[in-house]
């Protein structure tokens, strides 16, 4: 049974550098993080023993995914490469490396059945690969700007993607049909004074019953270059693409949502990081405001959840990886 009111940190480990991405094995056996040195680290649960992956990427790693069986990890770097890792080796060994994107690989996702891998990059492309062979199946080029988020539907057939402009697309992985679009524009801004695009769809989540899609990021960005913005999650009805809720986080004037997940009990969980600190934020369908906030010790940069929703991993600028239990 999940009880979000009982959220508490049960593991807290450190690495030598500030951390970026974090993913947890769906069964909760280990965590993989990436650091501001282009390296991946695997922490065992509960001991916290750390294995550092060999250096392959020549840049930071922001795209990270673990297959449902916990056997393969995939990383995407600022060098445009996607690397498949064999997690049964110690330390993990490279299975293959693919030059996938021109510029950063920002986001990766593996389908729930472990058959497909999707990647999104700063070349505004979305690639679909066969996870087992690494074969490229198709490429979508309809996004106009950086692709920040990709997430598979539980049916293993549809893929949601989101970009810097706030465009959200639902794609059929098995056909060339045009995508279904959702309007995530409230997550994007162009600051005329600073001449920069900001925000975008930083994360996506789809509920297990495939009724709802949530897109997270930030809004009220009066000063993008100065980190002045607030977290925002848009919740849509998938059937008719209507916006149902604009979930905000009262009392957090400085933050953005860096990842979102639907928990098995129906709560929408987001992780926020910004000048107000780091928070796990919980929302329920039917109300815009949070139903619970759990403050983390430091600004968080990424978050992932086990299949049963009991363990939440967060990566932090203060070099810590933390595991919070919701059970």
């Amino acid at each position: 049974m999940l009880d979000i009111q009982k959220a508490r940190i049960v593991h807290d480990w450190t690495y030598e550098r500030p951390l970026l991405a974090a993913r947890i094995d769906p069964q909760g056996q280990f965590v993989i993080t990436s650091g501001e040195n282009g390296l991946l680290q695997k922490f065992s649960i509960p001991a916290g023993e750390v294995q550092v992956f060999p250096q392959v990427h020549q840049s930071w790693i922001q795209g990270l995914a673990i297959d449902p069986a916990g056997k393969i990890a995939v990383s995407g770097g600022g060098d445009g490469k996607i690397v498949w890792w064999d997690l049964s080796s110690s330390p993990p060994a490279v299975i293959r490396t693919v030059d996938a994107h021109q510029g950063w690989v920002r986001t990766l996702a593996i389908s729930p059945d472990g058959r497909l891998l999707a990647s999104g990059g700063y070349d505004a492309k979305v690639h679909l690969f066969e996870l087992g062979s690494g074969q490229l199946i198709r490429t979508w080029t309809d996004h106009a700007m950086n692709v920040y988020a990709v997430r598979f539907f539980p049916d293993n057939r549809r893929l949601a993607t989101g970009d810097l402009k706030g465009v959200i697309a639902i794609r059929d992985c098995e056909s060339d049909q045009p995508p279904v679009s959702l309007d995530g524009a409230p997550l994007h801004s162009f600051n005329e004074g600073q001449k920069v695009n900001f925000g975008g769809v930083r994360c996506l989540a789809i509920d297990p019953q495939m009724q709802y899609l949530a897109a997270g990021g930030l809004h009220k960005s009066s000063n993008p270059l100065g980190a002045v913005h607030e977290p925002l999650a848009l919740q849509f009805s998938i059937a008719d693409q209507k916006l149902l809720h604009s979930h905000v986080a009262e009392g957090i004037p400085g933050g953005g949502l860096w990842n979102l997940h639907y928990l098995p009990d129906g709560h929408l969980l987001g992780v926020s990081g910004g000048s107000t600190g780091g928070f796990l934020l919980f929302w329920k369908l039917g109300q815009d405001l949070t139903v619970h906030k759990f403050q983390l010790p430091a600004l968080a940069r990424d978050m992932d959840v086990t299949t049963n929703g009991q363990l939440v991993v967060t990566s932090h600028h203060d070099r810590h990886v933390r595991i919070t239990t919701l059970a």
């Binding site: 282009g38 020549q58 950063w104 270059l225 980190a227």
Partner: protein, 429 residues
């Protein structure tokens, strides 16, 4: 004296180095100035090509680590890689692939230390060569360039700023040089404001109006002439000339193929306009690219902004070289300061003036060279440290202006540049 780090021993650079060393062996700045003055004297004014300055102001504070002084693989390096350039041994950020191919025209100054982390004060000292003081106001480099480089017969203004966004008008940046040399801003690259004749005023009427104005001016000036009245008269004369030469400021007159090469966006258009103005002998053009004040998500914003700058800037450098203008045009790329080597919790970089970079090129500056260096983490200058005062002197010397000279302002001798500083002779050929 600091070393110029020529990265290769190719014949071209060997010659350049010898030429440079020959200059350095002359020893003192006074001797170098004398040589340059002799070289100028050998040409008649009609033969002498007009020297110009093209200055890029990377507003907000371009990160040196994401541009001219990358430190990949270090704690401060960030995610971007370094790439080779057209000069073997010189590497710059992967965000500048087009500029990298023009590096043989350019000179990196990697040891800039200005010790000023405030935007306004940093911009002031980088553009005037002096620290801001309540006791005095100093003219910006554009005004000094206009004063010294604009031929008396020119009917065009000498000090143009191409700025993002709308607006325009005159700047308040000439200090004691007077409003004749203050900047005219071209908002978003549009021609100067109020330079079209109102429809209800036909050409003949316009001529009569100007004739009447001149008569009344002459009558008044016979009795009350002063520097102030001259400035007013000049502003009207300049406005009339601007109206006659409005096409010079119309970038749409450039070929569509050139618009394509420069990129059909703001900074592409602004760079093409800069080329047009320089080709029409405007002696100082400043282009502003904004905004690099990336305390938050530094890498995403530099990923967005630097490539916008890279292609049109590199195209402009290549064109200036092809057109034969680069030998007489000093190119400067500066900011008010650089950004911290430390990466903050928002993946941003803050203000950092102790160790950053300025790019120069063309005119009398050494080509394909690096001067100065920072340590492994980019936190301190370890070789070839220079400051705003030295840079200001260097800009002027590079276009043949004796930066140690003074000008007479109402009977007072005011030095063109800070007399406590001197040019970076090592990079002047």
């Amino acid at each position: 004296m600091k070393r110029v780090n020529y990265a290769c021993g190719s014949a071209d650079h060997t010659i350049a180095r010898r030429r440079f060393l020959g200059g350095a062996l002359l020893g003192s700045g006074a001797l170098m100035c004398g040589l340059q003055q002799k070289m100028r004297a050998a040409e008649t004014p009609a033969e002498r090509p007009l020297k110009k300055i093209l200055l890029f102001n990377m507003h907000g504070g371009l990160s040196q680590l994401e541009s001219w002084d990358p430190k990949p693989g270090t704690e401060t390096g960030g995610p971007f890689r370094a790439i080779p350039t057209s000069v073997p041994g010189i590497h710059i950020s992967e965000l500048l692939p087009h500029t990298a191919q023009q590096m043989h025209h350019l000179c990196l100054l990697r040891g800039v230390n200005t010790s000023e982390d405030d935007h306004g004060k940093g911009a002031y000292l980088m553009l005037t060569g002096r620290r801001q003081s309540p006791a005095a106001a100093y003219p910006e480099i554009g005004a000094v360039a206009a004063k010294n480089l604009l031929p008396p017969t020119s009917s065009l203004p000498g000090h143009i700023r191409i700025v993002p966004g709308g607006g325009g008008g005159r700047g308040n940046d000439a200090a004691y040089l007077g409003p004749k040399y203050s900047s005219i801003a071209l908002g978003n690259g549009n021609p100067p404001q109020y330079t079209t004749r109102p429809e209800q005023v036909d050409e003949a009427a316009e001529k009569r109006r100007h004739s009447f104005r001149r008569q009344t001016d002459a009558s008044f000036l016979n009795r009350h002439r002063s520097a102030m009245t001259d400035a007013f008269v000049n502003s009207y004369e300049q406005a009339e000339q601007l109206m006659l030469k409005r096409d010079v400021f119309d970038v749409e007159k450039e070929a569509p193929a050139d618009h394509d090469r420069y990129g059909r966006n703001d900074i592409g258009r602004h760079c093409l306009l800069a080329r047009r103005l320089l080709a029409h002998d405007v002696p100082f053009v400043q282009v502003t690219h904004s905004n690099y004040d990336t305390h938050n998500e530094n890498f995403d914003f530099h990923h967005e902004l630097v490539p916008q700058f890279d292609r049109p800037f590199a195209t402009l450098i290549a064109d200036l070289s092809t057109l034969g203008l680069l030998d007489d045009t000093l190119v400067v790329v500066l900011s008010e300061f650089g950004r911290t080597p430390n990466i903050n919790l928002y993946m941003g970089r803050d203000h950092w003036s102790r160790a950053w970079s300025v790019l120069v090129g063309g005119a009398g500056v050494a080509r394909g060279a690096v001067y100065g260096a920072t340590n492994e983490q980019g936190t301190e200058v370890v070789d070839g440290q220079v400051d705003h005062g030295q840079l200001f002197h260097t800009y002027l010397q590079a276009v043949g202006v004796d930066s140690t000279a003074s000008i007479d302002v109402d009977g007072r001798q005011l030095p063109l540049a800070d007399p406590a500083a001197e040019p970076i002779w090592k990079i002047l050929s």
